[in-house]
């Protein structure tokens, strides 16, 4: 009997302005019913395109498949006509796209969207809806599915709009939509990366349960080794368009055979990774226009270690990729007057008053007390909607707090006149979550980095030549080359863009950086690079960090102290180690439990090597 899904030697080229690019380079995979395969790799390695190729959703042209087969129960999908392929989508192959916030049609009710998918599937499988009028049956099935993915009072929720649902609930709806046609194969592309950690854990458990109940095969595309360790039975590691290692999760994570797998695992901060030892993968994903010769090895049969790969630029033995551990840092002396102090800061949002319902005020911040000393890094951790971003806006005086004080070097920020405020803003700079959105697409990197020096001319006090020199110095500081300065944001990778964002924040010579989830839009390797850069900068320049994240492991890796906030309130605060080893509140414990860790049951050779 053929396996549920078999991908053989799949090649994919994309026509671009600079000529054809080899995007997939002999991908091979066999998936049986009931198996959950994690497909991991850095961004740009071809994971998503592999998933889309199975459902034949990559537009051709510009894409072209010169070779390869995708067989579903032995039937070659590449040879099917488009109408027959459409009949398989939603019915035999279910799909969940990356971002639950954008994957639902905002102008249709949840129930109608689910019912439409059921009706489309029922056109090819009438048994799905049973007897009776199709529309009614489809709505009934929609309600059943919503109930099954754990949405309470499902029948009433059918008439809800997508924007009325939270991210986690939308992801549940998308899972219901992918499964409503009773598919045999589910492809989930980063189904949890846009979600808070506790919600991530719930969604992964839900998907595992559904896969087990229905005996369905599943491909879970992710860049997170933590997600793989938590949810998958098997794993396939992708690099530069090929699969370099496959096998059962326990084997691969415990004894990774391929150096790339090991490097990938070492790039993930765990609960106990010492500061400054995170290993970023050197270089960048290879330029696909000029691929290095034979980087990837042929994948071996599942369960057996693949033959060693010839050393490509990023597959070098790990030892060379390791930075030397930073000297042990002791926390800065707290006797210093704090650089920034928040005293009982509250911020309320008053919703527009309505005639019928008087909606209550939304408390974004509720009496928050915080202190950051010079050169200290404070991590702020909370779920989405906890008030983390409001905190940065209030500190920068982009919004006024409704109560409380913000003191910068002992002076009340609220009382600053125009001149003092400008000087303050030069000293306190911000790095945003999404470097793509935070950089003006019509400015070159050089213009972007120069801009704060022009805005804060009086504070920075450099002439044109001085600014040029400073930009050159900054670009080197953040680990980019001078020729990157001429590029526009879209010509840079995600990690490089965030480096530009950091260089811009450093340009005016700040004492404190507000880092609002600066790595959450990046893959593990780019995240590791940025985290290490931040540590190095702090050791060299003595900047203070207010590092906001929803990922405890990342904060733990970078910060001296951690503050947990929930619904605008400070729940727990203390030295990083203390929060992790002896959490005082249930909330802290819950966050720690939800932090994916390649740790205890899978304590692996790769990680040990990584921390030695």
């Amino acid at each position: 009997m053929p396996p549920l899904l078999e991908i053989r030697d799949l090649h994919l080229t994309m026509a671009t302005r600079d000529g054809p690019v080899q995007v997939l380079n002999g991908v091979a995979l066999r998936i049986a019913r009931g198996e959950i395969w994690g497909l991991v790799g850095e961004s740009g390695c071809g994971k998503t395109l592999t998933g889309l190729s199975v459902a034949r959703l990559v537009p051709c042209p510009p894409a072209q498949y010169p070779a390869g087969e995708v067989r579903l129960d032995g039937e070659d999908l590449m040879a099917l006509s488009e109408p027959r392929m459409r009949a398989l989508r939603g019915r035999r192959i279910g799909m969940i796209l990356q971002d639950p916030a954008t994957s639902l049609n905002p102008t249709m009710r949840i129930g109608d969207q689910l019912a439409d998918v059921a009706l489309a599937a029922a056109r090819h499988d009438p048994a799905l809806l049973g007897p009776g009028p199709a529309r009614t049956a489809a709505r009934a099935l929609a309600a059943t599915m919503l109930d099954r993915v754990g949405i309470a009072s499902a029948r009433q929720r059918l008439s809800a709009w997508p924007h009325e649902f939270s991210g986690g609930m939308r992801q549940r709806v998308l899972i219901a939509m992918a499964l409503i046609g009773a598919p045999d194969l589910l492809i989930a592309d980063e189904p949890t990366s846009a979600l808070d950690l506790p919600v991530q854990a719930q969604i992964l458990a839900l998907m595992q349960g559904m896969a087990a109940d229905r005996g369905l095969g599943m491909i879970l595309i992710t860049h997170s080794m933590g997600v793989v360790a938590r949810a998958c039975s098997h794993v396939a590691v992708m690099y530069a368009g090929s699969i370099v290692e496959t096998g059962p999760v326990v084997e691969v994570l415990d004894r990774p055979a391929h150096p790339y797998t090991r490097a990938l695992m070492a790039a993930v901060p765990g609960r106990h990774t010492p500061r400054g030892t995170l290993s970023a993968l050197p270089g960048t994903v290879p330029d696909l226009l000029a691929p290095p010769p034979a980087v990837a090895s042929r994948p071996a049969a599942p369960g057996r270690p693949p033959p060693a790969a010839p050393p490509g630029p990023r597959c070098a033995p790990l030892a060379r990729a390791m930075p030397s551990p930073a000297p042990m840092r002791t926390g800065p002396p707290m006797a210093d007057p704090p650089l920034l102090e928040l005293r009982g800061v509250s911020r309320l949002y008053r919703p527009r008053r309505s005639l019928l319902a008087r909606s209550p005020e939304v408390v974004a911040l509720d009496g928050v007390n915080l202190r950051i000393a010079r050169g200290e890094s404070l991590g702020i951790v909370g779920e989405s909607g906890a008030g983390k971003s409001t905190l940065t806006r209030v500190i920068l005086r982009l919004e006024r707090p409704d109560a409380g004080q913000i003191l910068y070097r002992g002076a009340d920020v609220a009382r600053f006149g125009p001149g003092a405020l400008r000087a303050f803003r030069a000293r306190v700079q911000i790095v945003f979550q999404d470097p793509q959105a935070a950089l003006n697409p019509r400015m070159t990197a050089e213009e972007i980095v120069t801009e704060p020096m022009l805005v804060h001319r009086d504070t920075v006090g450099l002439d044109r030549r001085g600014r040029r020199a400073r930009v050159a110095e900054l670009i080197e500081t953040v680990g980019l080359r001078p020729d990157h300065l001429r590029r526009f944001p879209h010509e840079l990778s995600g990690g490089q863009r965030q480096r530009i964002g950091i260089a811009r924040a450093l340009a005016a010579g700040p004492e404190l950086l507000l880092l609002d989830e600066p790595t959450s839009a990046l893959d593990v390797s780019a995240q590791a690079q940025v985290l290490n850069l931040l540590i190095e900068l702090q050791d060299r320049l003595g900047v203070g960090y207010l590092f906001i994240s929803h990922d405890l492991a990342v904060v733990r890796y970078l910060c001296d102290r951690i503050a947990l906030i929930r619904q605008g309130r400070l729940v727990e605060e203390g030295p990083a180690a203390q929060i992790f080893d002896a959490p005082r509140t249930a909330f802290a414990r819950r966050l720690i439990d939800a932090t994916p860790d390649l740790g205890v049951p899978l304590r692996s050779a790769g990680r040990t090597a990584g921390t030695d």
Partner: protein
Amino acid sequence: MLRFLFRRLLMLGPVLVGLTAIMFVIARLLPGDPVGLAAGPNATLAERAALAQEFGLDRPVWDQYLSYVAGLARGDLGRSLMTRRPVAEDIAIYLPATLELVLAAMALAIALGLPLGLLTALWQNRWPDRLGQVLAIGAISMPRFFLGLLLQLVFAIWLMWLPLGGQLPVVTLPPPRVTGLVTLDAALAGDWATLGAACRHLALPALALSLSPLAAILRMMRASAIEVMAQDYVTAARALGLPRRKILIKTIGRNAVSATLTVIGLYFGWLLGGTVLVETVFDWPGLGLYATRAILSQDMMPVIGVALVTGLIFVAVNLAVDLAYGLIDPRVRYE
């Protein structure tokens, strides 16, 4: 929702007062001799004085304004020097013809522009799309009176398919007046022959008027449909095996159309105030002709009246557009 409507209607008051005040001041600042023009070259001084007194033009401007505003509250728009009749009655005669023309033109523009925009987005950068783009630019940049003449030449004179101008053939009696829109009245009266004739008379001026909004709607729809097609939910709909027609209409169409609504609302007002050229070319007895004649004879009451009425209709249409936003996209529903 009700509250939103109420607020918007409240805002109308100051808008109207401001509009009339500005119009009044401008009307009185303009040099000229409306009474002399209305009385004719042979009028004696006494006749002119009597005319000025009859229309209140001998009183100070602020006094005239106050009595005008007081009249407004009773629905009285003043009297026209030119026709010697109440402006409200004149407008009631001429407005329906213009409204009929504008409604027909907008209906045509929407009915063709939305689907064509969607289709050209789908065929992005293939020849039907390129052709559509070129034609759209041509339609936007072509002067309407010239387009009207061209249409007359081709369809009325060469092909003789459609009449040259007017609202109805001279020999046809208009249908009993209910709404004032000839086509609608004919349909209500069950007079199908008259309805047919009215439609054939309407076709050319409506077409001449509709091409520019049609092109604007088409291009707007195309641009926003292309933007929508790159959204995740469209890929998701394809990945879930939805039929192509459903994806095109429910997923892409619904989400793309709201951007087009703004253009529709703006163009409606623009057409309403800009029918005069087309009305002249097609001899269409509408508000544009009436207002132009009033302006030429420096007869300010009709001008102010027409400005007020078109302003009111424009506000109403844009209110409807705002409500339609909420209907299409639940995220912008008003409290």
